[in-house]
């Protein structure tokens, strides 16, 4: 199969499936190995980046998904239904960030960090499919371990968990001060 044909097939697959498709499945469909497939997809991503295209390929861990380019948003909102925006409260966001950075993690561990109960927040996150149960900790009570989902990556524009905004302790200190000043201002109003 030549590259053009393979690219056409991959485009058709990603288009029809709509959701993220694992590299294994794509590779099998075009009868190539994973590495070759990945190279072809990267080449396609390059092609989509050029002008004249309204869509792009998003990489999510080991899966790929087609989506519209962000600069197309202004045209889209005139026609398309606005996607349901998940508005997360501060509590839920805090819980999510703890799960994102510390996964796999149990509710108890989250509560230790936040100093408060987190059942509600975790349940909300599971309901939004941003967080999922990963299994159980081999400890008394066999508590559930939670981790983030593919939807989380998509929602936060993160390609993989390694791509999460980095925690740089020094920088964090500065940023934190800033961020908190902002909150402070908000609270004082």
């Amino acid at each position: 199969m030549d590259r053009r044909k393979a690219e056409a097939a991959i485009e058709a697959i990603l288009f029809a499936m709509g959701e993220a498709v694992e590299i294994e499945k794509i590779a099998k469909a075009i009868e190539q190995d994973k590495e070759t497939t990945r190279k072809i997809i990267y080449h396609m991503m390059e092609g989509y980046r050029e002008e004249g295209r309204g869509i792009q390929i998003m990489e999510l861990e080991d899966s790929y998904q087609l989506c519209t380019k962000s600069e197309m948003y202004e045209y889209l909102i005139r026609v398309a239904k606005q996607p349901r925006k998940i508005v997360l409260s501060d509590v839920v966001m805090e819980t999510l960030s703890i799960i994102a950075y510390k996964q796999p993690i149990t509710k108890l561990e989250i509560e230790k960090i936040r100093g408060v109960k987190c059942d509600h927040a975790v349940n909300k996150l599971v309901e939004y499919e941003l967080v999922t149960e990963l299994g159980r900790l081999d400890a008394p009570g066999r508590p559930i371990l939670f981790g983030t989902t593919e939807a989380f990556l998509r929602h936060f524009g993160v390609n993989s968990l390694e791509d999460l905004p980095e925690i740089n302790p020094v920088q964090v200190e500065d940023f934190k001060a800033e961020a908190e000043e902002e909150i402070q201002m908000k609270l004082d109003v």
Binding site: A16, L66, S70, A179
Partner: protein
């Protein structure tokens, strides 16, 4: 000291503590525990939350603060290495960790806002693809399944079914619906009586079996008596009944007809 902000804003005791530290512009590593504790207590006094769960979390922190405060008044404990232990150290670590995730949550929120500009698409799998059914290769499917295996499997099932049978209940026997033909039986009984002219009730009962037969035989006899076709005699209670036919031959069919 007044309460400058709405209390509900604080997501928990750590959140409130961080707020106080920030507000007092103090170093997180060197928390003036007396002032902060005082302010903290002031806050929770105002909270008067009815939600015990929420309140208890704030109270636990209050207890921790008071504990730290009292330990600050005592001579410092030292580690095995001879270093002084700051009673605040654990709290500081907790606060720092919480602060970090709180910050990361703002970072993530920003990412979320950027990512929201991408739109995705529902799956649109063509009908032709959806309708496709992989042809089944029976050979592959039944690979390794031999006739012997199938046979063994069936024997197994038989044995299992046997095991399922409740030994006690199954020995009760089955209740069978009796196939009983009323008019035929009455005919039969009457015919016997007509033919034998003189016979005994028990004699007739031996001809066939079943409770229904007994009942119908007796009913038939009563019917024949009513019609005056027979004379019966029973010397004593429970003794056998002798039957004598007094009617004419050929009248038998009318009787059973009533019961059809």
């Amino acid at each position: 000291m007044g309460i400058p902000v709405k209390l509900q804003v604080f997501e928990g005791p750590l959140d409130l503590l961080l707020h106080l530290i920030e507000k007092n512009k103090v170093n997180i590593y060197d928390i003036p525990i007396v002032e902060i504790t005082e302010q903290y207590m002031e806050y929770i006094k105002e909270m008067q939350s009815e939600n015990l769960d929420v309140m208890s979390e704030f109270l636990v922190m209050a207890a921790t603060l008071l504990d730290i405060k009292s330990r600050m008044l005592l001579p410092p404990e030292v580690t095995e290495e001879g270093e002084e232990i700051d009673p605040r150290a654990e709290l500081v670590q907790k606060l720092l960790e919480y602060k970090m995730y709180k910050y990361m949550s703002y970072e993530l929120r920003e990412r979320q806002e950027d990512a929201a500009f991408h739109l995705f698409k529902e799956p649109t799998i063509p009908d032709a693809v959806k309708a496709f059914r992989e042809p089944v290769d029976i050979g592959k499917l039944l690979d390794g399944v031999t006739l012997q295996k199938l046979h063994a499997l069936f024997r197994d099932i038989l044995r299992r079914q046997d095991d399922r049978v409740d030994r006690v209940r199954s020995s009760f026997g089955n209740i069978r619906r009796e196939e009983f033909d009323l008019s035929e039986t009455m005919h039969f009984v009457e015919h016997y009586i007509v033919e034998h002219a003189n016979c005994r009730f028990r004699e007739i009962l031996t001809l066939r079996s079943g409770k229904m037969y007994m009942i119908v035989t007796f009913l038939t006899l009563l019917e024949l008596m009513k019609e005056g076709k027979v004379e019966v005699e029973q010397p004593e209670t429970f003794a056998d009944i002798s039957i004598r036919y007094t009617g004419k031959e050929g009248e038998t069919s009318e009787l059973s007809g009533d019961y059809d």
